[in-house]
Amino acid sequence: MKLSTRQLTLCAVLTAMALALSYLENFFPLSLAIPIPGIKLGLANIVTLFALYALGPGQALLILVARCLLGAVFAGNMNALIFSLMGGVTAMLVMIGLSRLRHLSVYGVSVGGAAAHNCGQVAAAVLTLGNEAPLYYLPVLLGVSLFTGALTGLIAAFLFRALAHTRIWEA
Amino acid sequence: MRRFGALLAALLLAGGLTACGGEAEMQSAQVFAMDTVMILTASGGETEAALKAAEDELYRLDRELSRTRESSAVSRLNSAPEGAAEVGEELRDLIARALDFSDATGGAFDITLAPVSSAWGFTEDAYRVPAREELEELMAHVGAEHVHLGDGTAVSLDPGTQIDLGAIAKGYASDVVAAICRENGVAHSTVSLGGNVWVCGGNPEGKPWQIGIQDPARPEEADAYVGILRMSDGFAVTSGGYQRYFEEDGKLYHHIIDPATGYPAESGLTSVTVVSEGTEGSGTMCDALSTALFVMGEERALDFWRSGTFDFEAILVTEDGRLLVTAGLEDSFTPDETAGYAYEVVS
């Protein structure tokens, strides 16, 4: 993939934003309301969603991987890497598929991505723990992803409207 | 580091041991010692005091009998100049008993295999297959005849000979715990020290304790048994190659070394359980004999049982899928049919 300086810069800014959103999320600890490990709003998904539409799957994936790697480095927790990567990549693949269907709005794509993200994380937990106990969280996590997915979809929709007059993604 | 962690965990667990009232209720304690997790449950009498004392004793025995702790009595003997040391009454008596078991089992039980086990890496968890010449050199120093009991508490070893009480220490520990429980009037108890079990008093409902014997073919399944042994008072100890082994070039090497060859015993058995009544000292005997019978193989083991040298019963699992139980256990053992072994009662 050959990136123009402009694209590269945009990718970097989006990666930084995704990281900032991941950090911001810590101030809204969803796990206090629903005590399940790994449960969160998934605000960073807004960036993934935006990048997917604006820049295409290749660059979106690049941003995702960079975000996961840097996030793990900043947190000093390489264990978390497998979780965020499995969740993020699963979500990415599902969202690519859903967005290509062209029938779904950002809301549907976002909900699908959130649900896939949770499936990926549960799979990572089952794999690293060598125990099927995390599976029991799956139904609840899927239910929760309806709301978190809708929320990130809503924010992304705002974002697209707000940026409609700009041309920042033009190469 | 692992030992430090285990010790820390043990200390914390000891601190976490809490009193919960109600005399008939079973209280429990966990002890991380002798490279295993020990689980003790008891009720009646001075349960709390008994469990506390048992814990302390288990840590003490771990300190004294471990070959990998430099400060242990065993290590002091192994590293003594001229191979001679005053080892204290307890260790001397234990070594004396070990030598008796070696003698009685025709050398199938042997505490002098230490350098050979180390060569295989079983002592330090650094598994490897030693060269034949290396083993031959080490085997020259193996055998009960290289251990000499001196006057008083003196014990001496021939040059090159090292002892390891690993095959008898947990059995001895179970005897010690049993004695503590009796002294404190414990009415019901189960004590499980990594393959060594002691039970007393039957369960609180007045029935015998049920002891599951692990299926050696499915060691990773917690509820896979070859059968259930019902026993109110007594010791039961299982030895099996499946408990510790490593694989190299497609071949499995387990931790029970045949003193005759220096190689893991290939006796056609996969698991041996030795059962005896709860008389004093039987725990040590069961531990030593379970290893010895495993090394002997089916035929020699059953002949040994028939000889009546020691009073015990046995459950043998063979590589070819048979489950052999000596006659004395016929009424108290129920094979688990789902395990798929051909069940035979031997007399």
Binding site: S31, L32, P35, I36, P37, G38, Y53, A54, S99, L101, H103, L104, S105, V106, Y107, G108, V111, A115, A125, L129, G130, N131, A133, L135, Y136, L138, P139, V140, L142, S145, L146, G153, A157, F160, L163, W169 | G5, A9, G15, G16, T18, C20, G21, E25, S28, V37, T190, S192, N196, V199, W209, Q210, I211, G212, I213, D223, I228, V237, Q243, S271
Partner: protein, 136 residues
Amino acid sequence: MRMKWSPELHPNGWDALAAAVVVVLALVSGALLYTGGPGGGDLTAVVSVDGGETDRVDLAALTGSEERVYESRGYTLRVTFTESSAQVTASDCPTQDCVHTGAITRSGQSIVCLPARLIVELEGTGDTDGPDVVIG
């Protein structure tokens, strides 16, 4: 605007369908996982670290509450067991998810502490034929 793809910004029937699929998945996985487990009966709490069982507490045998301490991967967790529940009451792990989970009371439920790789699971012990001790 010239995006790679222009996104649809208003929810439509297809979105409802996607949401419905997620709901169905949640219900089906819930039904598969939560049925079949013994409901009542005596509970046993199983504590495992790194996928290996490290402790087993027969909750029915407890009268009051009992606290046990587990160490794993440098973290210390205090778990309180009662006749009918298990709960991580304190942990020095960074996420605190295990503490937030609160008390679990039904067979099949579990508390997971990922940083410590520790799991507390409840098992039903309706099977009275199970052995008291296992050797080997």
